[in-house]
């Protein structure tokens, strides 16, 4: 029966021949970005060298280290909004909590080892995101985007007010961290060593996120952000999926935040608050959500311009206004962000089946995943 009917309608369908997948642009952007990050300190140091001595711990390396850590915040925002439809308007909450926690930990115990700081930041980000997510995402009915956005914004705002008035964590002055962090017994002062540590952390967080969103779990997320009701009818437990992503995003934010606090030597109320949260949203929308690399680029461009313009007092004063105007234009006319100019809608959603034949570039993650079978 099946055989005869199969011949009737679809002549092209002989056996299991699969049409070719279209070319991917995203992996090229990702690799280019990685290459740029790896080579940047060397270029910038030679470029800005005065006299004979090369200072690899120069201002430009240190500033970009901060940006790389903020990019981790941007990635965590993208996991929420770009991949799961959770409009987290308070992502800095987890970034800041990570920072505050390790600052307090180091003040109380004198602990400065990165091997403690990083897991502590991750854990505290994970747990706080789990608690906030539980409240915002778990209910009988699917919560609306507005509810989640306002809820997370409020949480971030409340945390900012709380730490600003709480003497135990330095109140309005924030907390200073006087010691450099250590890695395997050596001090890690801001500079090239710290830079590559930040790159390594961003890379690991990025690859883990990439693995997640391209797994079968990620396929479910792709379904959720297109049609939640349909997924519920298929038997998916939507809220569990969302809570897992939200918590994982919290882990990445807390991780980035903990290192950021040590890098800046300071964590203040603004870091947990609305301003930083808004920046996370801006990085994402500007660079292009739902691509992971987009928000990283967004953070790089927005923060990079801020660094460049900060030399010029006049421009610096007008910069926030210009940024606001650019954001309005992007949201209105280019909702897929910078990366959306290069990457098709189709590639952003991606495809999740197994890849047969030759290993194509940039899809090795998916290939590895099959190895678990």
């Amino acid at each position: 029966m099946t055989e005869t009917t199969a011949n009737l309608a679809d002549d092209k369908a002989d056996g299991k021949q699969r049409p070719r997948l279209p070319l991917s642009v995203l992996p090229i952007i990702e690799i280019a970005m990685l290459a740029l990050l790896m080579l940047y300190p060397i270029f910038i140091t030679y470029l800005t060298a005065e006299g004979e001595a090369l200072d690899f711990n120069n201002y430009f390396v240190v500033r970009v280290t901060s940006i790389i850590l903020l990019a981790m915040l941007a990635v965590s925002f993208d996991l929420c909004w770009g991949y799961s439809g959770i409009m987290s308007f308070g992502q800095a909450l987890f970034f800041g909590i990570g920072g505050y926690f390790v600052a307090k930990l180091s003040e109380e115990t004198g602990m400065t080892s990165m091997l403690i700081i990083i897991p502590a930041g991750m854990l505290v980000g994970l747990i706080s995101a789990l608690l906030v997510g539980w409240f915002l995402l778990i209910s009988k009915r699917t919560p609306t985007i507005i509810f989640v956005a306002l809820g997370s914004l409020t949480a971030s705002f409340a945390a900012e007010r709380l730490v600003a008035g709480w003497q135990w964590v330095g109140a309005g002055n924030g907390m200073s961290i006087w010691d450099f962090p250590t890695l395997f017994g050596t001090d890690l002062e801001p500079g090239i060593g710290f830079y590559y540590l930040a790159v390594a952390c961003l890379l690991i967080a990025y690859l883990a996120s990439r693995y997640l969103v391209r797994s079968q779990f990620g396929l479910a997320l792709a379904g959720i952000r297109q049609n939640e009701d349909r997924l519920a009818f298929l038997g998916y437990r939507l809220q569990a999926f969302k809570l897992i992503v939200f918590s994982f995003a919290g882990l990445i934010a807390g991780w980035g935040g903990a290192i950021y606090a040590f890098h800046e030597g300071f964590v203040g109320p603004a870091t947990v608050g609305v301003t930083t949260s808004t920046y996370a949203v801006l990085y994402g929308l500007f660079g292009g959500v739902g691509t992971l690399i987009g928000p990283v680029i967004g953070a790089g461009v927005i923060e990079g311009l801020t660094v460049i313009l900060s030399d010029n007092e006049t421009l610096k004063a007008y910069w926030p206004i210009a940024l606001g105007a650019v954001m309005l234009v992007v949201v209105a006319y280019q909702p897929t962000g910078l990366v959306g100019l290069l990457v098709t809608q189709r590639e952003r959603f991606g495809s999740f089946g197994i890849r047969k034949g030759k290993k194509s570039s940039g899809t090795d993650d998916a290939g590895k995943a099959d190895g678990h079978d």
Binding site: A13, K16, Q216, F217, F233, L234, R346, S351, F352, D370
Partner: protein, 248 residues
């Protein structure tokens, strides 16, 4: 033939929307491996009944039991896990995903979280996806975006997705709406083989289509059961003819 316990048993179902009594004391019984049609004029409560069975909304009174279990207040996801599957009236495929991914999404729905995170079943389900695609004549479209296919093909994909988890009962809400006569004919052919493992409840305007594929019919009118029986019995029913000739 000894009557076995029906797979789906709807008893005394009532549903009120504001002042409208959409369903009033409806009884329906569907046995395993049979195709059951729900017919009736517009607004007679067919879709409301189907949604109450699927769990899209809950009935105000009465009971829905499925495979011997009371499912009246269960969520759609819980019903789905018990083998009750719904195909929507408006196609609810995921247009931005490929046809392949749509089916994979349906096939992997009951995998564990860890299994999904580690993509454990991706390799194993590939053969199932390709089989289903072949069965529904969509092999050549595997990597097309679902939203770019013709209306008829989207409906077939939708049916394939609803069948992916080998449900015991499939609810079809107007599967041939908007299809060409040729597509309707093929749809009938595609549905026939599922009888081996699945019962069907089907809401449909096209009476010829429904008479061709169904074993039993329930005729609804103004939220109540007007008549039920085999296709032959309903065709001979004077009550039904009256409603259809005077009001449709």
């Amino acid at each position: 033939m000894a009557m076995t316990e029906p797979l789906l048993k709807v008893s005394g179902l009532g549903k009120v929307f504001g002042t409208l009594r959409a369903l009033n004391g409806v009884d329906v019984a569907v046995h395993a491996n049979t195709f059951h049609g729900l017919i009736g004029p517009n607004g007679s409560g067919k879709s409301t009944l189907l949604k109450a069975i699927a769990g899209d909304h809950f009935a105000d009174e009465g009971e829905v039991s499925f495979a011997g279990e009371d499912v009246t207040t269960m969520s759609p996801a819980e019903r789905s896990r018990r083998g009750l599957s719904l195909k929507f009236q408006i196609t609810a495929i995921l247009p931005e995903l490929t046809v392949y991914d749509n089916l994979l999404l349906a096939l992997q729905a009951h995998q564990s979280m860890w299994g999904l995170l580690l993509s454990r079943s991706r390799q194993r389900l590939d053969a199932d996806v390709m089989d289903m695609l072949a069965q529904f004549r969509l092999t050549g479209k595997a990597h097309s975006l679902a939203g770019e296919m013709s209306h008829g093909e989207q409906q077939w994909l939708e049916i394939a997705m609803a069948l992916a988890l080998k449900p015991k009962l499939l609810l079809l809400d107007e599967p041939t709406g908007g299809m060409s006569p040729e597509e309707r004919r093929v749809t009938g052919e595609l549905l026939e083989p599922i009888r081996d493992y699945c019962a069907l409840v089907i809401v449909e305007h096209d009476l010829d289509f429904i008479k061709d594929i169904c074993d039993n019919l329930t005729v609804l009118d103004q939220g109540q059961v007007l008549d039920d029986g085999t296709v032959a019995e309903i065709e001979g029913s004077t009550k039904v003819q009256e409603v259809y000739t005077t009001r449709v």
